[in-house]
């Protein structure tokens, strides 16, 4: 027995086992990074579960992050996607589970499928009733282009600037779609920044809204929107798809999928499909998207100054977008007659965090005037923001890809 314990073979085997185990990797050079990333993933899980910060997405993202940073698990290999494209020649031999799931992100499938579901859940009625909302949705895209320049000032490459700027659109699938094409190495930090700040919209927006508007402006009551017929709601997605896809073919996948989902909902003849894309398909894709995006947040790609810069620029993007919508609404009021003025608070809903941003407009408006109901008015710029950010993504893709 003693001789067995003293044998080199056993000692070597035990040492080999310790070295190949995940615990051993923590003590290897640079192993502390894994520990930090696991702690960060657990913190994000805490935010998702306890604080309910966008839990539907943050939970799978955080868990994907946890899986990818478990040393030795080998579930995601960034080298298979190095240089911005899939290395098919070595893919099948080396790929892990998350590598296969990540193909949906890399090939731009998941964001588009999510947009089908988003379209099926969105009511464009307030936007059709008040087309001026498109202007507010456009103004809120200021955040994208201001941050695009801000990122360049911080030393990011132009393609990275485009990916970081799109955080200002406050639209998770669009951010992922664009980043997977322009700067896939930044996908993890950008997705986490986008979804975290989207969850923080009720915290970020109100101080900016109050700072840029007067009490009198916040109390403005808006006239009731006209009723929109079913035919208009059916024609709307078809027209938007045709116009935007012809003008900006690079925005066609996102806008086309968004409008397909909406058409399914509005036409009323494919209820089964509409319910499926709103629920089952959406939920399945969210799981795959969340896990695979979270998995891109490896220690090497996440723990650097770029991530810090992205987090700072993300909040700048949201703030600029909010300010852009508010200021344009104020500007429009200079030309509108009394009684037709718009409450500038609905401008902040131009960032496309649907329907969170519209709810914030409603809440802030009701604090000033409890009899004021801005929700439906704010939904117009809110859904216009979705279209606007998809258009902006198409433009950045056309410029930078």
């Amino acid at each position: 027995m003693i001789s067995l314990l003293q044998s080199d073979f056993l000692l070597d085997s035990v040492m080999k086992f310790v070295e190949t185990s995940g615990f051993g990797a923590f003590f290897a050079p640079g192993g502390w990074k894994f520990a930090v990333m696991i702690a960060l993933a657990c913190f994000l899980l805490y935010l998702a579960i306890k604080k309910q910060f966008e839990p539907l997405l943050l939970l799978p993202i955080a868990f994907g992050m946890l899986l990818t940073n478990l040393p030795g698990a080998e579930m995601y290999h960034s080298e298979l996607f190095a240089g911005g494209h899939v290395h098919w020649d070595i893919f099948v031999d080396n790929a892990g589970l998350i590598d296969y799931l990540y193909l949906g992100v890399k090939l731009g499938i998941y964001p588009c499928l999510i947009f089908v579901g988003v379209g099926a859940m969105t009511d464009f009625g307030p936007l059709i009733a008040n087309p001026k909302s498109f202007l507010l949705g456009a103004a809120a895209q200021l955040g994208i282009f201001a941050t695009f320049l801000g990122a360049y000032a911080l030393g990011f490459a132009p393609n990275e600037c485009g990916s970081i700027g799109i955080i200002g659109g406050a639209d998770g699938p669009t951010s992922i779609f664009l980043t997977a094409r322009l700067a896939p190495e930044l996908l993890g930090p950008i997705a986490i920044a986008a979804y975290s700040y989207m969850a923080l919209v009720p915290v970020i927006q109100p101080p900016i809204m109050k700072a840029l508007t007067t009490k009198k402006e916040r109390m403005i009551k808006m006239s009731q929107l006209r009723q929109v017929s079913k035919t208009e709601k059916i024609i709307f997605p078809v027209i938007i798809t045709i116009i935007i896809s012809l003008l900006l073919p690079s925005a066609a996948p996102l806008v086309g999928c968004l409008m397909l989902g909406n058409l399914m909902k509005e036409c009323g003849v494919v209820d089964r499909l509409s319910k499926t894309v709103q629920n089952e398909l959406m939920n399945i894709v969210v799981i795959f998207l969340g896990i695979s995006v979270g998995a891109t947040a490896t220690a090497d790609s996440f723990l650097n100054f770029k991530t810090l810069g992205i987090l700072v620029l993300g909040i700048v993007a949201f703030s600029c977008g909010t300010a852009g919508g508010l200021l344009l609404a104020k500007f429009m009021n200079l030309f509108l007659p009394e009684g037709k003025k718009i409450n500038p608070l609905i401008g902040s809903a131009g960032v496309s965090a649907v329907p969170m941003a519209a709810r914030v407009s409603q809440t802030v408006g009701q604090k000033e005037n409890p009899s004021n109901f801005l929700l439906m008015h704010a939904m117009g710029p809110n859904v216009a923001g979705v279209v606007g950010s998809a258009v902006a993504a198409g433009i950045l893709l056309a410029f930078l890809s």
């Binding site: 498109f134 202007l135 695009f148 006209r226």
Partner: protein, 119 residues
């Protein structure tokens, strides 16, 4: 990134300005399209409402002319009906067997309060 080697501040500023302008231009175009669509639909609704209102007015006018004649006809008919009532009543009395289609919902067998069978 070699592709962006020649990109400097002037190009970035131009891209940002151009990008923001294109977003605005596309969405402004959509405003005009939606306004036009809204105009067509509200116009159609108004025309339909006007047509319905016109038809109703014409009907009212027509009613005013014939109201008295119709009232007279109804009163005459009622008078005749009431005065002739029972005139041609059949004197033959029959007992008709009433049969109802079977339905488990109306079946007493399946009722909760079944009466004891008489033997």
């Amino acid at each position: 990134m070699d592709k962006f080697a020649n990109v400097g501040w002037p190009e970035m500023l131009l891209m940002a300005a151009l990008g923001f302008s294109v977003v605005f231009a596309v969405l402004v175009l959509l405003i005009f399209v939606m306004k036009a669509m809204g105009w067509v639909f509200t116009h159609q609704k108004k025309a339909a409402k006007a047509a319905v209102a016109g038809a109703a007015a014409a009907e009212e006018e027509h009613d005013a002319i014939t109201d008295q004649e119709i009232a007279a006809a109804i009163i005459t008919a009622l008078k005749l009906y009431k005065s002739n009532l029972h005139d041609q009543e059949s004197e033959m009395l029959t007992i008709n067997r009433i049969t109802r289609a079977y339905s488990p919902w109306s079946s007493k067998i399946h009722g909760l309060t079944q009466l004891p069978e008489r033997k």
